[in-house]
């Protein structure tokens, strides 16, 4: 009898909850974590030696005989019309060995941001490719533009048929006026989280190689199989089918939500390779990456909120905007107070378009922004009420199914940061350098979904392979494939060879929404269980026992309770046929859990004379279900927090109102957290269920908000804007 369950699916990195039908088989479990030899332990990743020696080959490192180097030409103007026939490639084509293609259709093109793709070239060296794009002549008819939201409000329409400020949704619950009337204290605020860039260290890019009608693509992607389908779909007019495309992603240098398909540069790479009759590698330059390789939309909310004497939020009224450049966006405070609940809510939100690159998912899309917005107002309102911010939050979890979890996490986090040391009254400290402590909470789906097909092969010599097309974004996917199989079969990790990152292996969903582990790990477990059962069935006659009387121990298969009847692992495998044994597993919803909660506490020091904010310590308490690999899971938590610090204090894309240019499409003026900015970080994995869940995204959510509230606690002034750079802090302190 099939049953229906709710799960999260991810499209282009944005998660959405859907109801799906699943077969109702016998329940499966991971077993008792305390009995496990490998799962839950600290296991260095299996590809580590390749990555520290330079052996690991990323797409950017692939070099094929006769390969050409590709390069994109982007529009230098924030808004321009290219007329039909407006791209003259002849200058580029006169350079020896160069092929060039126009990306402007026969009807011309309207470019809507600096970097909007116009043409592409392939040349024998990267240096000649640069000469080639410089030699392309393009007719640009410049148009009016707006690169910042404020300018966009009064600018001519960026899209002919849509206003620059486009209402995107609203929500109402209860009666706001009554809620405000019932409030003892109210607060108002306007909070803005910046538009951020993914800054993948390996830029978007591909190597394309044709063999007749078949295309092999090395792709820096978060979705091996999805990318195969997209290449076939977009090259459909050339008669491509998915079976003719092979996608390989041995290693990839970061995606963070921005690498889900070939995009225009991937298709250009394939077309250039066809035209040149040679393999082409086309990796975006850093500048192109920062201009056109997507962004994580910014967010703004104006909020009026009120709470009664008990601290219960009676009214939460918001008007929000999403800043995704030429696309819409969305953030988790659009519809209300994020993880908290309020008695009465009125919310409306809109997209504000600008002539800047397109937005897409960026690690927990919309959540770090929404968390910052919500948690700022939570502390501002708590201060108005004169309540401890934690006590105030405790009063506002009514109806949240994670209530008990948050209460326990907050107690732990408060103890670890020393919550009692905070300024009871924000800004109560003295002197030029002031300390403060703040906190914030987040939530995420991360329950995964179906579709993964994992194969396990046991060879006659006792070696084992586990295979799936999935990609390892740096989260440790390759390692847990081997761990789960080794655990199930009583083997050591090194005896299991994981093979991933290739569309010739079984299907795998894209890595978005922290769904890789909860989508793939259950299928690995099911494949390992299948392999185990098949092996036991194959050797049961030799042990003169029934399958159910057998058990697998450490490199041994034996009859339960009879030590005399056993075979070593190698002896058992030697009894298999010539090609060994092949098993397959699919997703199983009983092995995964969605909907995690976490919180972070931050301590900062603010220099009120210079406006400099120095993070001192961050404590992370994160629910992540069953931990498969404690070492790599903690690493992801460190990484999330370090990205959150950049969101809070450093990352700002400067779009110049006058010229429409992005002034810092690079990595020195677009600032990321460096070694010197990294504070003490303490991770507490809050194990809750014996089922796997994703952790990549939840750990990035609360950091910026916790730091913002720590700054508020230190200074008594709200810094309402991210990043909290010295100029922004001094302005909030009334000193600039």
């Amino acid at each position: 009898m099939p049953r229906k369950i709710k799960t999260t699916i991810v499209e282009n990195g944005f998660e959405r909850e859907v109801e799906i039908e699943v077969p109702d088989g016998p329940p499966v479990s991971w077993g008792d974590p305390k009995q496990m030899r490998i799962i839950g332990k600290r296991v260095p990743r299996v590809e580590g030696p390749d990555k520290v020696t330079g052996k690991a080959k990323y797409t950017a490192d692939v070099k094929l005989p006769g390969m050409l180097y590709g390069r994109m030409l982007g529009c230098p103007h924030p808004a321009a019309r290219i007329p039909a026939g407006g791209v003259d490639l002849s200058g580029a084509e006169r350079i020896r060995g160069v092929v060039a293609i126009s990306l402007v259709g026969p009807e011309g093109k309207t470019c809507r941001y600096v970097g909007d793709e116009v043409a592409a070239v392939a040349a024998p060296t990267p240096e000649l490719a640069e000469d080639a794009i410089r030699a392309i002549r393009v007719k640009y008819e410049k148009q009016p533009f707006a690169v910042n939201p404020d300018a966009s409000r009064t600018a001519p329409q960026i899209f002919g048929n849509e206003p620059n400020v486009a209402p995107a949704g609203n929500r109402a619950q209860g009666d706001i006026a009554a809620g405000l009337a019932a409030s003892k204290a109210t607060a108002e605020g306007q909070y803005t989280a910046q538009t951020r860039l993914h800054c993948c260290f390996e830029t978007h890019g591909h190597v394309c190689k044709w063999d007749g009608d078949n295309l092999t693509v090395w792709a820096s992607t978060q979705a091996v199989h999805g990318t195969r389908g997209d290449f076939a779909g977009q090259l459909g007019r050339y008669g491509m089918k998915p079976a003719q495309v092979r996608v390989i992603t041995e290693h990839m240098g970061g995606g963070f939500g921005s690498k889900f398909g070939p995009r225009i540069e991937g298709i250009a790479c394939a077309l250039l390779a066809k035209k040149a009759n040679a393999p082409v590698k086309l990796m975006l330059t850093r500048t192109d990456e920062q201009l056109a390789g997507f962004n994580g939309p910014g967010a703004m909310s104006r909020i009026r909120a009120g709470a009664d004497a008990s601290g219960r939020i009676q009214a939460w009224e918001t008007s929000s905007e999403n800043y995704g450049g030429t696309t819409g966006g969305g953030h988790s405070a659009n519809g209300g107070p994020y993880v908290y609940t309020a008695e009465n809510v009125k919310a409306e939100w809109a997209n504000v378009f600008t002539n800047t690159g397109p937005g897409c998912a960026l690690r927990a899309p919309g959540h770090p922004q929404g968390c910052f917005i919500t948690e700022c107002m939570m502390d501002d309102l708590a201060a108005k009420l004169g309540m401890d911010p934690l006590a105030f939050r405790r009063a506002n979890l009514k109806g949240n199914r994670l209530e008990k979890l948050y209460l326990a996490q907050w107690d732990l986090g408060a103890a670890k940061i020393g919550w009692h040391r905070r300024n009871a009254k924000p800004g109560a400290g003295r002197g030029p350098k002031r300390r403060g402590i703040g906190m914030a909470s987040g939530t995420w789906g991360g329950g995964g979904g179906g579709g993964a097909e994992v194969d396990v092969v046991i060879h006659r010599n006792g070696s084992v392979e586990v295979m799936n097309g999935t990609q390892d974004l740096g989260t440790g996917t390759r390692t847990y494939l081997a761990m789960i199989v080794a655990e199930e079969l009583g083997l050591d990790l090194k005896e299991v060879t994981p093979r991933i990152g290739d569309s010739v292996y079984g299907n795998s969903p894209g890595s978005g929404g922290s769904t890789t582990c909860p989508s793939v790990a259950p299928a690995v477990k099911m494949a390992a269980v299948d392999a185990r059962e098949k092996l036991l069935a194959a050797i049961a006659p030799a042990l003169k026992a029934k399958v159910e009387e057998l058990e697998i121990g450490d490199h041994v298969i034996r009859v339960k309770g009879d030590t005399a009847r056993s075979l070593t692992w190698k002896q058992a495998c030697a009894r298999l046929g010539m090609s060994g044994l092949r098993a397959r597993g699919g997703w199983n919803q009983d092995l995964r859990q969605g909907g995690v909660g976490g919180c972070q506490f931050a301590e900062v020091e603010v220099d009120i004379e210079t406006g400099k904010v120095r993070p001192i310590k961050i404590v992370c308490v994160q629910d992540c279900g069953l931990v498969i690999n404690r070492l790599t899971t903690e690493s992801q938590a460190y990484g999330g927090i370090i990205q959150g610090i950049a969101q809070a204090l450093l990352e700002r894309r400067h779009a110049d109102d006058l010229t429409g240019r992005i002034l810092n499409p690079n990595l020195e003026e677009y600032k990321l957290t460096g070694p010197m900015e990294t504070p003490e970080i303490e991770i507490h994995l809050f194990d809750t269920y014996n089922k796997v869940s994703g952790i990549g995204e939840p750990v990035v959510i609360p950091t910026g908000a916790a730091l913002a509230n720590a700054v508020f606690n230190a200074t008594g002034r709200r810094v309402p804007e991210l990043p909290m750079t010295p100029d922004v802090v001094l302005k909030a302190l009334g000193k600039a």
Binding site: P49, V52, R96, T125, G639, I681
Partner: protein, 207 residues
Amino acid sequence: MAEEQERSQVSRRSFLKGVGTGAIGTALLGGPGAEQAAEAAPANGAVGPGLTRITLTVNGQQRVVQAEPRTTLANVLRNELDLTGAKVICDRGSCGGCTVHLDGRPVYSCMMLALDAQGHKVTTVEALAKNGQLDPVQSAFVEKDALMCGFCTPGFVMSIRALLDRNPNPTLDQVKQACAGNICRCGTYPRIFEAALAAAKAERSGR
């Protein structure tokens, strides 16, 4: 395997191509773009703008390439010598992903022309492991999980290796300063600090 690829730089194909264009002497070692005629050096000693013979000492071996004078050391290592450990990430000296050692000092190979590296000893991350045995810095990076996507990792390994070569007993602050010119988007810093200190300790106690 790596050695084979390095040797195959002088392929039959590029040799014949060289003969065909009548520029045997200079195009012999030509990689991509070898068909471009190499320019004769002007009398004033200036080179370029065409393909130029560049002789480098890389990982203890003499290597000869034909590249334009504007080619960076990073691009020669990666595109001509297939030493792709050093990564080009920012391509303008702000991230440290392309860090190699020049006479033992860490340098950004994207900020140096290959021509200017002539006469110096270039060491890349590929040369740290000896006889299949990881360098202590590399082992510590693996053991402490000081890498995630791994794209910036070779740069960090080279910065930390250079630190331990000049200071075998660094403090945490000295470790941070030594890699302050490197950035990691995945956020592995706490693990890198841990690995650097562990590697230093392991080396002091005799590897």
